[in-house]
Amino acid sequence: MKWTTRLNAAVLIALALICGCSNNPYRSGETEEQTYFSSFSRAPEKLDPARSYWMHESAIIDQVYEAAFEYHFLNRPYEIVPLTTESIPKPIYYDKKGKLLKRKDPAPEKIGRVEYVIKVKPGIMYHDHPCFAKDKQGEPIYANVTLADIKGYDLPNDFECKGTRELEARDYVLQIKRLADPSISCPIYSTIKNYMIGFEELHDTYAKMFEDERAKRKKAAGASYNQEKDEQENPFIVDYLGPEFEGAQVLDKYTYKISLNAKYPQILYWMCMHFFVPMPIEALEFHCQAAMIEKHIVLNRCPVGTGPYVLTRFKPNEVMELRRNPNYHDDFYPSEGNPGDREAGYLDDAGKRLPMIERQVYRMERESMSRWRKFLLGYYDSSGVASDVFDSAINMQMGSEAMLSDEMKDKGIKLLTSVSPDLTYTQFNMLDDVVGGYSEEQCKLRQAMSIAIDHNEYLDIFMNSRGVLGQGPIPPGLFGYRDGKEGTNPYISKWDPVRERHVRKSIEYAEQLMVEAGYPNGRKPDGTPLTVHYDHSSSGDPGFRAQFKWMHRRLQLIGIELKERGTDLTRYRQKRQKGNWQIMRNGWVADYPDPENFLFLFYGPNSRVKTGGPNSTNYDREEYNVLFKEMESMQNGPERQAAIDKMMKIVQHDAPSIWDLHPVSFQLFHSWYKNNKPHNMSSNLVKYQRIDPELRRQMQLKWNKAILLPVYLLIALGLLAIVPAAITIYRRDRGL
C-alpha cells in the first residue's frame, strides 16, 4: 500500500511537470497587466545622473529623473519643449563690462556673459521616497540609521516610511554643483568648465577640501591608513550649500539662473540631458550615511526624481522593474505632430494623461540569439533598448519597404526605422608620415583609400543596407546636412540618379589618384607594396574578423596591403593618446542635435594628442578652425549653412577620415505595443506608450503550444532499453 501511494504521487507530480510545461518565462498572470516587457544586454552600473554617460543607463535614469526640458515626442526636426518649467528661457546677453546688450543676437566677441533664467512650475512633487519622510517634530526619520534599522531593505522603495516634497529651483542648482565635485568624475566636466562661470574654481575648492580632510585622517591613522576602507566607514559629507558659485544661483523658490562666460546656445541641449536634473538635498543626506553605503543603498543605484516612473527592483545582472509614479505631475500626450502622424495612428491617444503603462520589466539577456528567439515567441514586446543586436535579422532597402520575413509579417511584427544621428568613420592619423599630412599627394592617398573602401558594399554585406553612405561628418537629420545630389562629396563620391543614392567613384579613378599620390599600383618607390596598419581593440569581437578581411580585400584592389594591430582597450587608448597609430575605426553618437557636436571632432584645438580632446584624427587646419569658431555660436540659418558648407569642403578634400556611414537604427515591436515613433535623442519614451495586454495574451498562447510527443517517445525508448538490461542482470545473478 505504502509504495503504491508513493508511486502514484510521483507519477502525478511528473505528469504535472510535463503537462504544465511551457516556455513562458514569466510568472502566471504577469503578462495580463499593463506591463511592458523588454530586455537589456549590458548591466547598468551608474544610475547617478551626474556620473552616467551611457545610453543603456539613460534608459532608466531619464524615466525617473526629469530635466527642465525635453524633446517633443512627435515633432521632427527635434524641438525642445518645457517639461518641468514654464517656458524655454531666452538668453540674456551682457557685454564685457557687465552692461545689458539690447540686440537679440549680438556678435560673439562682444559678449562677456550670458544668463538664462529658468522658472520651475510650482506643484510638481517628487515620488515617494524615505528621504522625505519626517517625524512629528519635522526631523527626517532616517537620519542616523544603523545597519539594523535598514535590515532587509534593498532599494528606497522598500522602506516603511516615505514622504514627498515639492520640486524647487535649489534642487537644480545643487545638481549643477555636484557636476563640479571631483569625487563624482562627471563625464562632461571638461565641456561645462569652458562655459560656466566659476565652475572650475568650484571644482578646485572641493578638491582642496578633500585633500585637507584626507591628509588629516591619514595623519591620525598612521601607516595603517587605508583610504578606501576609511571612507567607506566614515563617508565625507560634501558641503554643497557652502561655497559661493556664480554659475548657477537660486533667485527664489521657483527660479534659478545659469551664467555662462560666452555665447553657447548648445547649453539648452545639455540641459535636456540627465546631467541637469534636480537633486533634492534630502536624498544626498539620506544616501551619504555609513550604513547606507555599507548596504549599497546609494545614488548610483537609487534614483530619486519627479519622473513618470519609480525604480522598484534593480538587480543589474538579472532584472530591473519600474512602476508608475503616483505623484507624477500633469503631463499629457501631445495633440499635434508632424504631417502624417495622425494617419499613422500616433495621435490616437492625444490628450491622454501620461504615463499609460503601469509597470516595466527589463530582463538581462546576454546572448542575442536567446533574446531574438524570445522576441519572436512574443515574450518581449520590443526588440530592446540597444536594437542593433538584430542587425542580421532584418533586411531593408533605403527608399523602399523594410524587409521583414514572412514569419514576422504573419505575426504582425512591425518595424520602425530612422537614420540615427550617428557617424561611423574610419580615421587616419594626421600626424602619421604615411597616411597623415596635408600635402596634395597625401590628401590624394587618403581619397583613394576612401574610394577603395566602398561602404555601400559594406552596408550591403554587413548591415543589410541599413545605413546611408557618409559624405562628411554631419549625419542626416541635423542642421547643415545637405541631402541628395548637392550633398555629394565631390572628391570621392558621385550621385546615382537611378537608385537615388551616393556611390563611391570607380576603382580606376582611385588607381589614378594613387599614381598622383606617388604610389603607382600601390607600390612604394622601392617596389614593395604600401603597407598600412589598422589599429583596433576588437580582437575578441566575432564580427571584426570579417570586417577586417573585407577591408583588406578592398584595399588590395588599389595594391595597398592592410595589416592588423590588435591590442587590449587600455593600450589602444595609449596609442591614441600618443598619436602612435595609422588607421582606426570609430563612431560618434550625437549628444544633441546640433552640427557643432560633429564638426568639433575635427577642430584643431580639440586634438587628442595635444589636448586630450575628442579630435582623435588630430586634424588641424587653420581655415577650418576659424570657421568653426564662427559657426559654433551662430543661430541656425543661411549664414550658418554657408559656413558649414565651406567647412565641409575643406574636410572633404583633406579627408582626415573615411566617411563610412550613418547607420539606420530600427526597432521591432509586436502589434500590441502602441505609439512607437523613432526618437534618437530621448530615452524617456515609455511614458507615451501603451500595451494591449489581451491581444498579447492571445498571441502568446497561440504561438507557444508545447509539443510533448517527443518527450513521451523518449521516455518510452528509455523504458524499452532498461527492460532487457534488467532482465539480463537478473538472469546473470541467478546464474541462468
Partner: protein
C-alpha cells in the same frame, strides 16, 4: 589530523600570496592606473585632470609596490599592492573599480546561490546518472553494448559544449516550446529556467565521466578480492554493486571533490547562454571591463577554494581508506 590541517592552511598562505603577486604583476606590470582610470571613465570627454581625480578618489594614486616617501611600515602599507591586494587575506574584497562603489563581497555572496542552484543539481544528477551507466557498462564489459557505449562516450566528449547549448535551446525551447529559452527568477520559480541548463550540464559531463568511472570499476573488478568473492559463489550483482562499487568510490570521490571549486565558480558558458546571474558571468564581465578589483578577488576566491578542495581530498582519503595516514 588537526595539526595536519593547520599545517596545510599555513601552507596555503604563500600560495595565495603568489596568486596575488601574479595577478597584480600581470595587470600592473605594463599598465598604469592612469590607463585603467581612462578605460573606466569612458573616452568621450575625459581629461587628465579627471583621471587624477579618479585615482585620488579610488586610492590608485599610491605607488605600486613600495612607497619611498613613507617611513617605517608605511613603506609597504601605503602602496596599491598592500591596500588593494593584501586586504583579500581577511576576505575583505573591497569595492569594484568600474561599478561605482559596488561591494565585491556582497556581489559574490548574492551570486553564489545562483551558481549553486545550477551546479549542484548538475553535480548530483551527473554523479548518479554517470555512475549508473558506468556500472551497466562495466557489467556488460567486453560485449557490443560496452563497445558501443564507449564509442558514444568518446563521441560525446568530442563535441564542444557550445553545440550542446545551441542544440538544447533550439530543440527544447524553440521548437518543442517545453521550457523557457533563458532567464532567471527568484525562489521556486527558477526551476523552469534551470531544467535546460541542468540537462546540458548532464550531457556535457556524461561522456568523460562514464568513461572514467568505467575504467575505475574494471580496475576494481580485476582485483584479487573480487575474484575471491566470486569464487565464494557470490552473485555477479552483489560483487559489482556491493564490493566493487564501495572500493571504486575512492578514486571517484577524489575526482568529484576536486571539482568542488568549479561548483562555486559556476559555469561560464551555461550562465552566459541561459542568462543565469552567477559567478562565472561575473568573472567574464570583469575581464571584459578590465575591472582589476573583481579579477583579483575572483582569482583569490578561486585559489582559496582550490586549496580547500585539496585538503578535503586528503581528508577524504583517510576516511575511505584507513591505511592512509596524514602526517
Amino acid at each position: 589530523m588537526l595539526t595536519y590541517i593547520i599545517r596545510r592552511v599555513l601552507y596555503a598562505i604563500p600560495i595565495l600570496l603568489g596568486v596575488n603577486l601574479i595577478i597584480f604583476g600581470l595587470y600592473f606590470g605594463l599598465n598604469s592606473p592612469d590607463d585603467m582610470a581612462e578605460t573606466i571613465l569612458g573616452e568621450k570627454r575625459v581629461t587628465q585632470e579627471q583621471i587624477d581625480d579618479w585615482k585620488r578618489q579610488h586610492n590608485y594614486h599610491l605607488p605600486k609596490m613600495y612607497n619611498t616617501e613613507e617611513r617605517g611600515l608605511g613603506f609597504f602599507t601605503q602602496t596599491i599592492f598592500w591596500q588593494k591586494s593584501m586586504r583579500l587575506f581577511i576576505f575583505d574584497f573591497g569595492k569594484s573599480d568600474t561599478a561605482e562603489g559596488k561591494s565585491i563581497g556582497d556581489e559574490i555572496r548574492s551570486r553564489i546561490p545562483n551558481s549553486l542552484a545550477m551546479t549542484i543539481p548538475i553535480f548530483l544528477a551527473s554523479l548518479f546518472v554517470n555512475l549508473f551507466f558506468s556500472m551497466i557498462v562495466a557489467f556488460y564489459r567486453g560485449t557490443y553494448l560496452d563497445n558501443s557505449m564507449r564509442f558514444i562516450c568518446v563521441f560525446m566528449m568530442s563535441i564542444s559544449g557550445m553545440f550542446y547549448i545551441i542544440g538544447a535551446q533550439t530543440v527544447a525551447a524553440q521548437m518543442l516550446k517545453l521550457v523557457p529559452i533563458s532567464g532567471f527568477d527568484a525562489g521556486l520559480y527558477k526551476i523552469k529556467f534551470l531544467i535546460l541548463p541542468i540537462l546540458v550540464g548532464l550531457l556535457r559531463s556524461f561522456g568523460g565521466a562514464v568513461r572514467y568511472y568505467r575504467t575505475v570499476f574494471l580496475e576494481e573488478i580485476n582485483k584479487d578480492y573480487v575474484r575471491t568473492a566470486r569464487a565464494k559463489g557470490l552473485g555477479e550483482n552483489k560483487v559489482l554493486f556491493k564490493h566493487a562499487l564501495k572500493n571504486a568510490m575512492i578514486p571517484i570521490l577524489t575526482n568529484v571533490v576536486v571539482g568542488i571549486p568549479f561548483l562555486i565558480m559556476g559555469s561560464l558558458m551555461l550562465e552566459r547562454f541561459f542568462s543565469i546571474p552567477g559567478l562565472g558571468g561575473y568573472m567574464i564581465d570583469a575581464i571584459g571591463k578590465q575591472d582589476f578589483a573583481v579579477v583579483r578577488s575572483m582569482a583569490f576566491l578561486g585559489s582559496v577554494l582550490y586549496v580547500v578542495a585539496l585538503i578535503f581530498v586528503d581528508i577524504s582519503y583517510t576516511l575511505v581508506d584507513p591505511r592512509v595516514r596524514l602526517k
